[in-house]
Amino acid sequence: MTLGTRALKIISGVSAVAVCGVSGVLVASDPRPAAAPLRPSLSGSSTKATTLVIPPSCGGAGVNAGGSASALDPSLLPVVQQLHEASTASERRSILALLTASQRLAVEAYVRGLQRMTNGSAASCAGSASTGAGSSIVPSVVAAPPPANPLINTYVS
C-alpha cells in the first residue's frame, strides 16, 4: 500500500499534535517542588558552607558514637576552611588567635569530629580502639643517657 504526500502530511501533523498534547498534560500534572531555589546562591558564605556538608555518619542516629561532627556556629565555618587551607602551624595559630577561647575549642573539637568521620568512622563502627589520631603513630623514645634535670616531671594525674 502506498500513501500519497498529502496523506503523509496529515498523519505527521496529527502525530505531532498528539505528542505535544500528552507532554503538556504530563508537565501540567507534575507538582513543582515547594521551595527549591531555581538558581543557587553565589554568595561567599553559602559556597563555603556547602563545602563543609557532612555526609551521614557510619551508624546514624542511635549509634553510640557514629563518627560525626556536631553542629558548629555557622559563623565559624569559614575559620574551619581557613585552618584546612593553612599549611604551617604558625598560620593556624594566627587564624585561631582571632577567636575567643571558647570558639577555638569549639572549632578544634569540630575539626576532630570531621577527622573522625574521614579517618576513624569505620573503626568506631567496628568498636575498635581509635583513641585520637594516634594508634598508627609510633612515638620516638630517644636512647640517650638521661639528663640530670628533666624538662618536665610527670606525676599522678
Partner: protein, 287 residues
C-alpha cells in the same frame, strides 16, 4: 658541630582543681602561651562537673533526656566511648556516682581543706558499661537516667594534644598528661621524668601517669575500679605510659593501674604503648 638552640617560653599555671600545668613552646611568642592558658580555663569552665553552670553539669542533670550538645562536649563524649573501648571498659566515664560515693564530691582543692572528708564509709556502687548508658549523635547526646559522667584525665589528655598540635616544637603538661612535639629547646628531644624516677627523651609522644598517690583523701582516692565500684586496690602506686599522644597515654596508664601489676605489662604492650614505668619498678621498654 654547632648545637641547636631554640628560643623558648616556659609558663606554669594551675588548673583542673589545683593541678600543676606547664607550657614550654619554642620559637613562638607570649600571645600563643596566653591562648593556651585561656583555652585551658575555658575548657575547665565548660566541662567541669563541679561547676553547676558548666555544659557537662547540665548534661548530667538532664540524664534521661536527649539534649543538644556543643561540638566540644560531643567530641569529648565520643572520646570517652573510645577510651572505654581501648581499655576494655576499665576507663569508664560513668563512674561518677561511685566517685562521689567514695568521697570525691567537691573540687579537690575543697576536699583537701575539709578535714571531715573521707570519714563516712564508702559503699560499693555498680558502674554501668559506658556504651550501655551513653548515646552521641550529630549535635545531640543522651545519658541514661540516674547516670552521670566525669571526664577525668581523658579531658586533660585530649586538651593537651589539641594545644600541643598547634606548634611544631612544644610540650604541654596538664596535670600529668603531657604531649610533646618536635626536637625540644636543645634539638635532642624532650626530657620527661617518669613516676619511677627514670627519665626518657621523646620527640613526638604523649606521656601520662596515673595512680593512687595523687588525689587521695582519708579513706579513699580518685581511681575508681568499675569492676568493683570502689577505689582501686591493685598493688600499683602509679604507672607512667608513653604512647602516641597524651590521650592514649592517659587511657593506657589508668587502665594499667586498674588491671594490676602482674598483667599491666602485657596489657600495655598489646595496646601499643611505647614503654611504661610502674612505681617503684624500673622502666620496661616494650618489645
Amino acid at each position: 658541630m654547632i648545637g641547636v638552640h631554640h628560643s623558648q617560653i616556659r609558663h606554669v599555671f594551675t588548673a583542673f582543681g589545683g593541678a600543676r600545668c606547664e607550657v614550654i613552646v619554642c620559637d613562638s611568642n607570649p600571645d600563643d602561651v596566653s591562648a593556651i592558658v585561656a583555652d585551658t580555663h575555658a575548657f575547665e569552665r565548660s566541662l567541669s562537673r563541679f561547676d553547676l553552670d558548666s555544659e557537662l553539669a547540665r548534661f548530667n542533670a538532664d540524664a534521661g533526656s536527649r539534649v543538644a550538645v556543643s561540638p566540644l562536649l560531643a567530641e569529648l563524649l565520643r572520646v570517652c566511648l573510645d577510651a572505654s573501648a581501648l581499655s576494655d571498659g576499665l576507663v569508664n566515664a560513668a563512674c561518677l556516682p561511685a566517685l562521689i560515693e567514695a568521697g570525691y564530691d567537691r573540687s579537690f582543692t575543697e576536699l583537701r581543706r575539709d578535714t571531715m572528708t573521707g570519714k563516712r564509709p564508702s559503699r560499693s556502687m555498680e558502674v554501668p558499661a559506658l556504651p550501655d548508658v551513653l548515646e552521641v549523635g550529630e549535635g545531640w547526646a543522651r545519658l541514661a537516667h540516674e547516670c552521670s559522667i566525669d571526664l577525668g584525665g581523658v579531658g586533660k589528655g585530649w586538651l593537651a594534644d589539641r594545644l600541643c598540635e598547634r606548634f611544631d616544637n612544644a610540650a604541654i603538661n596538664l596535670g600529668g598528661d603531657i604531649r610533646a612535639r618536635g626536637e625540644g629547646p636543645q634539638g635532642r628531644g624532650w626530657d620527661v621524668a617518669l613516676c619511677d624516677g627514670r627519665t626518657v627523651t621523646v620527640r613526638d609522644a604523649g606521656i601520662a601517669t596515673s595512680g593512687i598517690s595523687g588525689r587521695r583523701w582519708p579513706g579513699g582516692h580518685h581511681l575508681i575500679d568499675p569492676r568493683t565500684g570502689v577505689p582501686a586496690s591493685t598493688g600499683i602506686t602509679a604507672v607512667s605510659v608513653i604512647a602516641a599522644n597524651a590521650l592514649r597515654a592517659e587511657v593506657l596508664a589508668k587502665g594499667a593501674c586498674l588491671i594490676g601489676a602482674s598483667a599491666a605489662g602485657s596489657w600495655l604492650q598489646a595496646r601499643g604503648a611505647a614503654c611504661h614505668a610502674v612505681a617503684p619498678s624500673t622502666i620496661e621498654p616494650a618489645a
